[in-house]
Amino acid sequence: MSKTDTSEQQEALGAAGAQLSTAPQEDTAVGGPALGVIGWVRWFWRQLTSMRVALILLFMLSLGAVPGSLIPQNSADELKVRAFKDAHETLTPLYEKLQFFDVYSSVWFSAIYILLFVSLIGCIVPRSWQFVGQLRSRPPGAPRRLDRLPAHTTWRTEAEPEQVRAAALAVLKGRRFRAHQVGNAIAAEKGYLREAGNLAFHVALIVMLVAFAWGQLFKSEGGKLIVEGDGFSNTLTQYDDFKSGSQFGTDELTPFSFTLNSFTGTYQKDGPQRGTPRTFEAAVSYSQGDADKKAVIRVNEPLEVGDSKVYLIAHGYAPVVTVKDGRGKTVFHGAVPLLPIDNNITSTGAIKVMDGYRDKNGKKEQLGFKAFFVPTFAGEGKGTMFSQFPALGFPVMALTGFHGDLRVNSGLPQNVYQLDTTKMKQFKIEGGTGVAQRMLPGETMPLPDGAGSITFEKDIKEWASFQISQQPGNGLALTGAIAAIAGLTGSLFIQRRRVWVRAVRGEDGVTVVEMAGLGRSESAKLPEELGDLALALTAEAPPTAPVPEPAEEPAEDPVPSGEADK
């Protein structure tokens, strides 16, 4: 659809073709400015807000987005970034300089989109003014030669010229054209919504960007692992990890609490995709200070409480163990969450008995156990300790016990899932592998030399981890998105076009009616519409002689122009 606004045609049409859009005129002269500093600033601004530069910036934006999709990003997966850095020692310093591990918050990427949006604002404001001006003015009068326009028709009628013009005005207004009379012709225009839609679309882009930036500044996001039966209340200290935008204040956390009642996972039982998860459901009860309400959180169905959303992120097993000391006193009893290391939820973790334990001589000591757990054991002598299925089919736990100092008070932050054994001694175990002992639920393993015992309780709990996030601006972003689509649809599917109807008395005293249409772009719909309009008008101005066959190349001046009417 090549646009008709080539300069040649523009000249031929004069004012009639002007302002059919608000697109900025492309000044093809790239020459520098003439006048000092202000001249330069002006020149720069004109360049920045030109369509050509907008196009180049759009290109740069998409090009700039590429590296972030191919190189691991800190924002997505810090572990992967670390692995990448370890594997590429020469590239890493270069990439770090170029901010390739944080592409989307990098200086250069931000520069591109900020420039683009400055350009956009610089473009949209004058265009909006211009459009308001166009709305307040009336469609321009008919060009002298209507037969030069992309669609044209003419006929002769007995009706008076005034009568024809009045009828044309009525027909055009009836079809919701903005129409008025200029000289001996009716000028009409329709499809302003196209421009409105286009402006709305570009404004909506700005709204979306603002919403996105606002969300980034004020968001908060934290993770929490909860074992069945345990609860969480939304305060900073309860989070396992917490990130927030620079403008977020911790007093803005929605006050609420919830308890994980149970977690249920189901898995494909047979076929080639055996073990693939099918459903994950976390049944919770939550409250905002009032009565408890029940809810089920699924992977695609977060729980919404006030401004916060609670997402189900991961799950695993938490075997319950009981540890007794040499005198038979229970020093530890509880569920120990273990971290999955594969899709069948083979899990590892640590059991730490910090205080209360005394050995058989009554000496204070700490105990630690490395735990290796499989929900479905392959079976004795199958050669693998890894789990065969993610559900609890044949749970087995292997434990390696240590005694000594857990070093939890050494000042170093400690991973709860790992044991620091530098200050500990391993218990010697009779039989077994000598390293770890496999246990079935309900079994108790005595520690050597009367050091006590550890019991793997029958009740194996599950845990689920949740992400609790609060992000303002989502509603605004969605509004912007919907406005963008609506505006875009209007902009692309609505044609803005002008129609002129001229009626003058010919030299032989018969009225000559001429109609012509002009659109932004060449479209088959324009002549069709003109045909319809003409047909509607012939009801009031019936053609007398047969409609003259249009010549191959329209005759030089088939209609005496305007003056004849006066």
């Binding site: 040649e8 998409s62 924002s75 992977v299």
Partner: protein, 357 residues
């Protein structure tokens, strides 16, 4: 969606059989199209390049037909003029080149394509029934649906009496490639969805994505042919003699202006839907992962594709960038779409990884 439902093996096997059958019928359609082009090349109709270099009529008379016009009133004839500065070259005669035999084979090819389409669509539907969910859980399923929709869109254009038969041969060829890849490398047994995909947004987001891809594809074919045809016309206009292949094949295509118009219409019409697809995806991501936009590889490439097509539309609106330059942008944008599908799914690790690709 019933997640506990086990797959219905009978239906799944039937689906496989139907997809293979459709490939056989597409192959026949491919040969029929080849025959159409071969017979068409023997025609003398419109084969003289001289006809093109002649001054084409500047005005086209359009007699707009409309039922219900009073018989007495002769409908005024509307004269249209092309924009100044554009080449007025008539459309080529089509693959059959005006020959009866070529046309017969062309019709056979279209009929076979319709048959293959029906069989393939049945294959997709039975796959969906076998698992009682939307048949868009993995790349095998995307590929089969994608080709079905592309052919469906093409047949839709034909049904709407649009001049698109020229797209038949390239389309059927790529459909065969797409299906061939699907059954050899992407084959995944019929099964249930992983929980992350189990959402009604799957129906919305993935169906529109596939539809956009299929229609963008038609646009890209037209754009590519436009580039060839345009250089052919340029050569003629400047008095050069195109090679015999160009004379035989390109001459039978629609004019560069028509091809350009077709690809613009198709791309522009589908762009709002593509915008919607990305937004729907973002809403879904907000539900599934707790953030609506996270610059995941798939998101990045959808964004790049979107910006690419936006650049294309801008280019069309800017005087200096119409024609070939705009066409290159459209092709780059489509290449980004393709990379987002094959490249990101297979080579880049992304949150959008599905069961068995």
């Amino acid at each position: 969606m019933i997640l506990a439902a086990t797959t219905n093996e009978g239906l799944a096997q039937m689906s496989d059989l139907l997809v293979y059958s459709s490939m056989a019928v597409y192959t026949l359609a491919f040969f029929a199209h080849i025959a159409e082009w071969v017979f068409g090349s023997r025609s003398k109709v419109g084969r003289t390049a001289a006809a093109l270099t002649q001054q084409a009529p500047a005005a086209v008379t359009v007699q707009v037909k409309k039922a219900g016009g009073t018989a007495v009133l002769d409908r005024p004839k509307v004269v249209t003029r092309s924009a100044s500065g554009t080449r007025d070259v008539p459309d080529g005669p089509g693959a059959a080149g005006g020959t009866v035999k070529g046309d017969l084979y062309g019709r056979i090819a279209v009929s076979l394509t319709v048959l293959a389409f029906v069989i393939e669509a049945a294959g997709v539907v039975s796959r969906a029934l076998s698992v009682q969910r939307a048949p868009w859980g993995n790349m095998y399923e995307f590929s089969t649906t994608f080709s079905t929709v592309a052919v469906g869109a093409y047949l839709g254009f034909l049904l709407a009496k649009k001049n698109v038969r020229w797209i038949g041969l390239p389309l059927v060829t790529t459909i065969l490639l797409d299906l061939g890849m699907a059954v050899t490398w992407l084959k995944t047994p019929s099964d249930q969805l992983v929980p992350a995909l189990d959402s009604y947004w799957l129906w919305i987001h993935v169906s529109t994505a596939i539809f956009c891809g299929a229609v963008f594809y038609l646009g890209a074919v037209a754009t590519l042919l436009y580039l060839f045809r345009d250089s052919y016309e340029n050569k003629l206009a400047t008095g050069g003699t195109p090679g015999s292949f160009a004379r035989s094949v390109l001459e039978r295509l629609p004019s560069a202006a028509s091809l350009d118009k077709f690809s613009y219409r198709v791309n522009a019409a589908i762009f709002p839907l593509w915008t919607f697809t990305i937004i729907a995806g973002a809403i879904w991501a907000g539900d599934a992962w707790g953030r609506y936009w996270g610059w995941d590889a798939k998101e990045v490439w959808s964004f790049i594709t979107w910006v690419g097509y936006a650049a294309y539309l801008h280019a069309r609106a800017t005087a200096g960038w119409k024609g070939r330059k705009a066409a290159y942008i459209a092709l780059i944008a489509f290449a980004c779409f393709l990379f987002n599908y094959y490249g990101v799914n297979i080579f880049v690790s992304s949150k959008h990884s599905y069961a068995g690709v």
